[in-house]
């Protein structure tokens, strides 16, 4: 069907308006001169300036980035291993428990994950700080990574790996030279997902952070509880801008890759 019916046009326009208008309003009012977030008083970028002066926010941002980089990297390694074990591992003792532990954190309410990890850290006497947040974030995001990677591994043509083994590769070489390049896009999107989940997380970080380490979402949450403020609007605008650029770039890159892959496949079919 090439032409859109009026019903579909209306539902799409209303739907996307609903999804985007709140964020557009948020961005517009970050440039508001007035301290009141709801009354327009002229264009100004002063809230961005104040944000840059606010050391508490900058420190929290730095902690958040550190946590996200470490946790998403460890989570990608562990999650890829877990996916490989799930898809290729065959049978081993406790396999059902293992797959249960991979899927359960995906549906576990954050308050429960946070509470249980906090009780563990207190139980073993680990001081709460950057390390405990990294451990907590790694645990739940490795499950997301393993789901993303295993969905790629399932569709993977196993004979390629077998060919490499037949041609004299060791299993490790076969993984590094054949499997990894093929599943790389899934591994990268798993990393990105883990990174965003970590940047975004408020609840688990609140439970597992100590006074020494406050992440940006915790900071934003405590500021926002007192009401709307233009500084938070400015901060949100920066975060929205980063995400938008990131998502558009990745989608362009994947599109480019898909086009190239299609062309390669067509050429391979011709020869």
């Amino acid at each position: 069907m090439n032409r859109m019916s009026w019903f579909n046009t209306v539902s799409l326009s209303l739907g996307f308006a609903f999804l985007y208008i709140p964020m557009v309003i948020l961005v517009i009012f970050s440039f508001n001169e007035s301290k009141l977030v709801t009354v327009w008083a002229g264009f100004s970028t002063k809230w961005y300036g104040e944000l840059m002066q606010n050391e508490a926010f900058l420190n929290a941002a730095w902690v958040t980035i550190k946590v996200a980089v470490f946790s998403s990297t460890i989570a990608t390694v562990l999650g890829t291993m877990a996916a490989y074990v799930m898809v290729r591992g065959g049978r081993f003792f406790g396999r059902t428990l293992f797959s249960g532990m991979i899927y359960a954190p995906l549906v576990m309410p954050e308050v429960i994950t946070g509470l249980s990890l906090l009780l563990l850290f207190i139980g073993i006497g680990l001081d709460r700080g950057v390390l405990t947040i990294v451990l907590a974030h790694t645990t739940f995001s490795m499950c997301y990574v393993s789901v993303v990677v295993s969905s790629r591994l399932v569709t993977f043509d196993r004979s390629l790996e077998e060919a490499a083994l037949d041609l004299g590769c060791s299993p490790a070489e076969a993984f590094r030279l054949v499997t990894l390049p093929i599943i790389a896009p899934a591994v990268i999107s798993g990393w990105l997902l883990a990174f965003t989940l970590s940047l975004d997380d408020l609840v688990i970080a609140s439970f597992t952070s100590g006074p020494a380490a406050t992440t940006l979402p915790i900071k934003i949450f405590s500021a926002v509880r007192l009401g709307v403020s233009p500084e938070i609007n400015a901060l949100s605008t920066i975060m929205i801008a980063i995400v938008t650029v990131g998502v558009i770039t990745t989608s362009l890159v994947t599109k480019h890759q898909m086009v190239r892959q299609k062309r390669d496949e067509q050429e391979a079919a011709r020869t």
Partner: protein, 293 residues
């Protein structure tokens, strides 16, 4: 040997940081208030044996949950809010997914990206955006006053209505994506066949399109219902003091009242509530996978 390492590293990680913490929650929920006061050492002493361990168990905290009607009300109102907001999200999401699946093919990738983009944006920020819109002097009230629809501002922020709006807004992508995936796979000629055989467009929709997108609808509903049940951010920012949701109660038990055993018992009961929808969701996913193969 290498295979052993490959299996055991993620396995041990999950055992230590997922299963053991959960066992601790279970243990604390069953222990005395005095015992569990911080600094609580969740130790299991094998020396005293299993009997001593069992005799120490104490269901007092669970009895406490049934006696104070705060908890009952919180569970019921969480279920109610999760149920109705799932329904609302379905009503809002289905037409969008339908429109996307019927859109010209060259638009679909862009539309898809537009749905995913909010999902990558911070959850907290998306909830916060509504605080400015729904408040008494907020954008919505100003617009309605200006249009002359209302004479005085409506109180929406800090009510359950705001919670519903927040849930529908933040979880909409989770509803749209599985339904879209199901609708996109559908063969258009089935509708044409139904219409040729005398169905009206509406009954063709009810008799053909809806049943064929059932797996997507079910998946979307669970993806909204399950996280909403334990939601904390939305009720605490958009809801009022009378908005009772179990995630918020757990948070307050823990951070304000510092009552760990009760917080743990609340967590255990919440998980029990979630088991049924989670199992049903898993079954739906499995059925779908088998159908694809």
């Amino acid at each position: 040997m290498r295979r052993f390492a490959l299996i055991s590293i993620p396995y041990l990680w999950l055992l230590a940081l997922f299963l053991v913490p959960f066992a601790i929650v279970l243990k604390i929920s069953l222990s005395d208030v005095a015992l569990a006061r911080p600094p609580y050492m969740p130790q299991f002493d094998w020396a005293t044996g299993l009997w001593a361990f069992l005799s120490e168990l104490d269901f007092e905290n669970f009895v406490w949950l049934t006696q104070d009607d705060l908890y009952w009300k919180a569970y019921l109102s969480s279920l109610q809010i999760a149920f109705f907001s799932t329904l609302l999200t379905l009503l809002a999401g289905y037409p969008i997914a339908y429109g996307m699946a019927r859109a010209p093919e060259e638009w679909r990738a862009t539309l898809m990206m537009l749905v995913i983009l909010p999902f990558w944006t911070s959850f907290l920020i998306r909830v916060y955006a509504w605080m400015g819109i729904l408040s008494n002097e907020g954008f919505l009230n100003q617009a309605l006053l200006w249009l002359g629809v209302i004479n005085e501002p409506l109180t929406i922020l800090n009510t359950n209505t705001a919670v519903y709006i927040g849930v529908v807004y933040t979880y909409l992508p989770f509803m749209i994506l599985p339904i879209y995936a199901a609708l996109e796979r559908m063969d258009d000629s089935l509708i044409e066949a139904a219409e040729d055989l005398g169905c009206s467009r509406l009954s063709a929709f009810w008799l053909v399109t809806v049943p064929l997108s059932k797996s997507g609808i079910v998946a979307g509903c669970f993806l909204v219902f399950i996280p909403t049940l334990g939601e904390f951010v939305i009720p605490s920012l958009l809801g009022g003091s009378d908005t009772l949701m179990i995630g918020k109660v757990l948070w307050e038990e823990f951070f304000s009242n510092r009552d760990w055993p009760v917080a743990s018992a609340v967590a255990v009961v919440l998980l029990l509530l979630l088991i049924v929808p989670i199992v049903l969701f898993q079954r739906n996913q499995q059925k779908q996978q088998e159908a694809e193969q």
